[in-house]
Subunit: 214 residues, 2 copies
């Protein structure tokens, strides 16, 4: 049984709560990641595979969801401790939520705390959660125009993962448009292309994770 | 050039504004549809094809987007008058926005006003826009668990369209899970399966539209 915590979003003083989360992570030399995407872009599937493929990296996961506890159960089954946060309808996580539940993970035993945000490309972008890196996923079936249409998610990203490359051809995905739009909204960031189904590109994602380790 | 209107969301008295929108539509015997889905589920592509395939149905479209005017340009190119609403970051449309821009469409010359809401499965569900019918799209690449995870969008739907059936096999979509979850959250509604690429199922969607005409 996973731990399901129901919390309301508190948006005031979000940065102060985010600073506290960051301090808690830094004290234990744990890297915090905030993963943002549309519903169904493949956040949970990528995390499952990442956990299974990297047994030497110790992940703890905070799963944000509007209502269910389904994703945390999937993460636990993949072998990592997980906490499910339910927002009861709110469209993003807030730092006070992370601050509240973080002590339930044993930070002494972790390299990474990964927060899987609510499936949404708009609201989560505006709320820091104390993360060290923000990772934004764009799945190929969503179409090539999404960087342009949801610039705030992509211009706050430290890493962009283009997921589901195994179906890129079938859905007519045009990478050149994404690259051009990224150059306009966030020129620092270069996307990694991957598929958690075919395994394409996962080595580069794992390499990026390892480069963050302290 | 499309008409781009930038508006802030006003959430107070939303129902009163929705009632006014409904009255404006009813006075002209125009059917209002509110289309909701995740980013990239295929709302605009389906509307483009619907407009082209049904020259005898007169559509006017209000395109909601966070920032760009891209979708309204696509709709105009498909042959229907369109207004682009930009919310400057807000994650849903509100009825006051529709009330404000509706007079820019010539309702005397229309059978349908279609509002394409912001790409988001959470926030738009909570705001009536004066529509006669709410249509929620779920694209097969988003995965089979989305009804369970975003119940408010699906339990307020009058019609659920399962889109991108042409790639259902490639992405491992399991219809039985969606049917079971829909039975739990919205037993009245039966989904129509379609693909705007292959054309599968479009006849049933067009039939549904025609059944609404006054």
């Amino acid at each position: 049984m996973v731990d399901i915590v129901v919390m309301r979003a508190v948006t005031s003083d979000n940065q102060a709560h985010a600073d506290k989360v960051r301090a808690m992570l830094d004290e234990k030399n744990v890297i915090g990641l905030n993963i943002i995407s549309s519903p169904g872009a493949g956040k949970t599937t990528l995390l499952e595979r990442t956990i299974v493929d990297n047994p030497d990296l110790r992940f703890g996961v905070i799963e944000g969801d509007v209502f269910t506890g389904r994703d945390a159960s999937r993460i636990e089954a993949a072998g990592a401790p997980s906490i499910q946060l339910n927002t009861e309808g709110a469209c993003h996580l807030t730092a006070n939520m992370i601050e509240t539940v973080l002590p339930r993970l044993r930070l002494d035993e972790l390299d990474f705390v990964v927060v899987e945000n609510i499936g949404n490309l708009i609201c989560p972008a505006a709320f820091a959660l104390g993360e060290h890196r923000r990772v934004v996923l764009l799945s190929t079936p969503e179409g090539s125009d999404k960087v342009q249409k949801y610039p705030h998610a992509f211009n706050t990203a430290d890493l962009v993962l283009v997921t589901k490359t195994d179906v890129a051809g079938a859905v007519g995905f045009e990478l050149s448009i994404v690259l051009e739009d990224l150059k306009a909204v966030n020129p620092k960031v270069e996307p990694l292309l991957l598929s958690a189904v075919s395994g394409e590109g996962l080595d580069r994602w794992y390499g990026w994770l390892r480069s963050l380790r302290r």
